[in-house]
């Protein structure tokens, strides 16, 4: 299939999902996400517990073989059996043997992604056992014969109406179901009977405690308790990564998981079962005998699944995935996920957010390749994750590995010369977007002709066909006079002898070639506040190639930037950055691309422009040197800026200067780097942008202000109005 047809198909599929599942997903996920913010707001210890949780998981994965040994001893001394399965087939063989040995006819299950992963239902059904999902969301999916669309809300892509329609069709009740109460009541009665009759109960496990053999199940419905305890045989299935030492190490997770998952302070039921449990068996066939006098002995089997996890443990980049506690917060915080849901992200079992890591480790790269680029790298999931997994980085690494496996394309020549190293297998689209710095230089050198040419219909058609550049998206307008040119032409060029501080302003590709006004405003603002300013060299930070998974190219850029800034740092300069995504590179991503010292030096001495202005003003710089508040503004901060926590400085400066300001709180503008330029994602990008559009719908008399380039371009498209960078608001008038 041609690359263009593939992109069309993908766009069609996304459009279809937006139409069919988008609304239900949006409502449910937004609700979960808002709940998460509120629950965390109420909880002072969130950051401390995240740090603890992270450390516990790091240690547990490090010591995994020992923990498995300890667990085996404790499970066996309790009277249960532990089986470690290499893969899905091995696990299913063991499970079907156990179930077969009980002559079981029916089995009830509580929700477990690990059993979805091994497809145990199919294996059991093949041997004639009826399997019933007792979690209501999972039950809906089972009845509909669909795949889960979310880690914790498998059916959240279905509205009440859709569930009612499904149940009415399948169960054909005398009175059609309408309300959520009716549906729930029906499901409860139906499943209650199945639980009472079941021969075997199967559960997953959120955490497994090695020292005592206790398994922890976190639920709201109570079905896991019933499924585990009512039948006298209990099979628990979990990945080997679920093991932690003991009750003490469980505590942070008990507190974190519900807050990040559903926004509840704590889940309704945290069952901590040390099977075989003391509770008496319940034999509903002998209704008048006291509990426990029925069929007797309890039997317990814990099946731990490797299925690629040992290899993940040895993989420096995928290892972190094993720390995941499957709370789903990364998906809920994702602008794209909020709009189109998990079915768009692909994946055999896991979907959205961290799923790329899981699928890459468990299923292999092929499964992850199709849709994983729905991660825009906006990084909003980074602070959401209770175990501090760098999810965007995992997505980048996986993307890089997929790039490495793709055969070279016949349209190589189009992007000839754009890739400086051996990434010859990267698709033309990725290489095009990944080399924005080179393009911008070229575009600027030939402006305004390049701008006219780029707007021509036939050129746009070709760009769409071969490079996948969305034909409806406005392209950046390159400036003939770059920021560097402007700066060079200024006189006098001698150092400012009276300056208190010295700054090297980093001219990112947009600021240097496209949005030069914000660069000039930054220079003038810094100088007005008594700072000596010099410009660094216009080297693209590596953000563009990184977002295409071109890690080697990104590393080259990072090293060049670091080398360029190094002498300034030696001379005691501070680095000031205009574009938040480039600040995020220096503070976050460079940690992975540079040696530790270079990264530390850059990250400690780099500031976002408004953050720096805030610092200057707090240290006594004269605010009167800046422009006073003139217009009321509607401000959208940039996603990476918010992840870094520097958005507050912009708001503080504007407020201190007397601006009347409203701010958006939507997760993402929908554009994130090159994402909204890509033909296949253009519509989704606009759909995500709708939330921002709605928030500012009533602000038509305010000046639109944004910090990031992508947000600026997306907002200009959404509102058809000019968008200003905050530093342009405060820059002193004049030259």
């Amino acid at each position: 299939m041609s690359a263009q047809r593939k992109r069309r198909r993908k766009a069609e599929r996304i459009r279809h999902l937006l139409e069919t599942e988008g609304d239900a997903v949006h409502e449910n996920v937004t609700h979960l996400n808002e709940g998460r913010y509120e629950a965390i707001e109420r909880f002072d210890e969130f950051e401390d517990l995240r740090t603890q949780a992270r450390r516990i998981k790091e240690d547990a994965i490090e010591n995994l073989p020992d923990l498995i040994d300890t667990l085996r001893e404790s499970v066996e001394s309790n009277g249960g059996t532990l089986y470690v399965a290499d893969d899905a087939d091995d696990a299913n063989r063991y499970i079907t043997d156990v179930v077969g040995s009980k002559d079981a006819e029916t089995l009830v299950k509580s929700k477990s992604m690990t059993t979805e992963e091994i497809e145990v239902n199919e294996a059991l059904e093949a041997m004639g056992v009826d399997v019933f999902e007792t979690d209501l969301g999972e039950f809906v999916i089972q009845v509909a014969d669909e795949a889960p669309s979310h880690l914790i809300g498998p059916s959240l892509h279905k509205s009440r109406e859709a569930v009612a329609e499904l149940f009415n069709r399948v169960f054909d009740p005398e009175e059609p179901f309408e309300t959520a109460e009716e549906l729930t009541e029906f499901a409860r009665d139906y499943l209650g009977e199945r639980i009472r009759d079941a021969d075997v109960g199967m559960t997953g496990a959120n955490f497994v405690l090695a020292e005592s053999g206790t398994i922890t199940l976190v639920t709201n419905e109570g079905n896991a308790r019933k499924s585990a305890v009512t039948p006298d045989t209990h099979v628990a299935v979990a990945g080997i990564e679920k093991i932690i030492p003991n009750a003490e190490t469980l505590q942070p997770f008990v507190e974190l998981i519900s807050k990040t998952a559903t926004g509840q302070d704590i889940s309704q039921y945290v069952s901590m079962l040390t099977p075989p449990v003391d509770s008496p068996t319940i034999d509903f066939e002998n209704p008048d005998e006291p509990l426990g006098s029925g069929d007797g002995e309890r039997d317990f089997h814990l099946v731990l699944i490797d299925n690629g996890r040992t290899e993940m443990r040895e993989d420096d980049h995928l290892r972190e995935t094993l720390y995941c506690i499957r709370c789903g917060a990364c998906a809920n915080s994702c602008g794209n996920f909020q709009h189109v849901g998990g079915h768009a992200f692909g994946g055999e079992t896991y979907t959205g957010g961290i799923a790329t890591g899981w699928e890459a480790g468990i299923e292999g790269l092929e499964t992850t390749s199709e849709f994983n680029d729905l991660c825009t790298g906006c990084s909003r999931c980074v602070n959401a994750c209770p175990v501090k997994i760098d999810i965007p980085w995992i997505n980048t690494v996986v993307r890089d590995r997929i790039n490495g496996e793709t055969p070279p394309s016949e349209f190589e020549f189009l992007v000839e010369g754009l890739t400086p190293d051996a990434e010859g297998t990267v698709s033309p689209q990725k290489r095009f977007f990944g080399n924005f710095g080179t393009l911008a230089k070229l575009g600027s050198a030939t402006a305004p002709v390049s701008n006219w040419v780029a707007q021509l219909g036939p050129v746009r058609t070709l760009m769409d066909r071969y490079l996948g550049v969305a034909p409806d998206r406005d392209l950046p307008q390159f400036e003939r006079e770059t920021l560097v040119d402007w700066f060079e032409s200024r006189r006098p060029r001698a150092p400012n002898a009276t300056a208190d501080r010295a700054v090297v302003l980093y001219p990112d590709a947009y600021t240097n070639y496209v949005l030069t006004d914000r660069g000039k405003a930054a220079v003038r603002t810094l100088e007005a506040l008594g700072v000596h300013v010099e410009l660094g060299s216009p080297i693209e930070s590596g953000r563009a190639p990184l977002s295409q998974g071109m890690v080697r190219t990104a590393t080259d850029h990072a090293e060049a930037v670091a080398a360029d800034l190094d002498p300034y740092l030696d001379a005691g300069f501070d680095v000031v950055v205009v574009e938040p995504s480039d600040l995020a590179m220096m503070r976050r991503e460079y940690e992975k691309l540079l040696d530790a010292d270079s990264h530390a030096r850059l990250s400690e001495n780099s500031y976002e422009i408004m953050e720096y202005v805030y610092g200057l003003l707090s240290n006594g710089a004269d605010a009167d040197a800046l422009a006073g508040a003139t217009v009321p503004v509607a401000y959208h901060s940039h996603c990476q800026q918010r992840t870094l926590g520097v958005d507050a400085y912009t708001e503080a400066v504007l407020e201190d200067l007397g601006f009347d300001i409203v701010t958006s709180d939507v997760e993402c503008c929908g554009m994130a780097g090159s994402f909204g330029y890509k033909s296949e994602y253009y519509e989704l990008s606009l759909d995500v942008g709708e939330d921002l559009h709605d928030q500012f719908a009533d602000e038509s008399d305010r000046t639109l202000v944004a910090s990031g380039t992508s947000c600026t371009e997306q907002m200009a498209d959404l509102f058809v109005r000019d968008v200003t960078h905050p530093v342009e608001l405060v820059a002193p008038d004049g030259r």
Partner: protein, 169 residues
């Protein structure tokens, strides 16, 4: 346990929509009778000093029929966590776990001395229980689901929870 913990427990419960009735050991049987509707099932309260369901309308020991038919299940709980209004339901051979789970209403009997401030404070208790092969459930509020398009309470677990706090134990 401190008076502050009890107050916090009460307010957490009220946030969850769970009512709390204070009583003393002497008044236990009468309080239970005033709270439960029949049929009610309970577990023997052996471990809970001086408390007994013998003189109440609550039927013991639990049978499968009672579990299915009862409107109310009465059980003691091991500890309570004031911060979240959590009841620590301990599994035991007399059937505390199923009796707290199957009937639509759970009446949980808590001794004031068992109210702990937070989850961390319950860790030692859990550690001891797990080491001895025991199981416990943190139960907070009522069973609920949002899977059918709106929040519905009372799914596989109870729809109502009531707490009886024994103030002199």
């Amino acid at each position: 346990m401190s008076a502050a913990d009890t107050r916090r427990f009460e307010s957490s419960l009220s946030d969850l929509g769970v009512s709390l009735t204070r009583t003393e050991a002497d008044e236990f049987a009468a309080t239970i009778d005033s709270l439960v509707t029949e049929p009610a099932v309970g577990v023997p309260f052996e471990a809970h000093d001086g408390l007994s369901l013998a003189d109440t309308v609550v039927e013991t020991p639990p049978t499968p029929r009672l579990l299915k038919a009862a409107e109310v299940g009465v059980t003691p709980v091991g500890k309570a966590v004031a911060e979240y209004g959590t009841l620590v339901v301990d599994s035991d051979p007399v059937g505390t776990e199923p009796v707290s789970l199957y009937p639509p209403t759970h009446v949980a009997v808590v001794r004031e001395s068992d109210v702990l401030p937070d989850v961390e404070a319950a860790t030692d208790y859990l550690d001891g229980r797990f080491a001895a092969g025991g199981s416990s459930v943190f139960a907070t509020g009522v069973s609920s689901t949002g899977d059918m398009g709106a929040l519905v309470e009372g799914v596989h677990g109870p729809k109502h929870v009531e707490v009886v706090l024994i103030t002199d134990r």
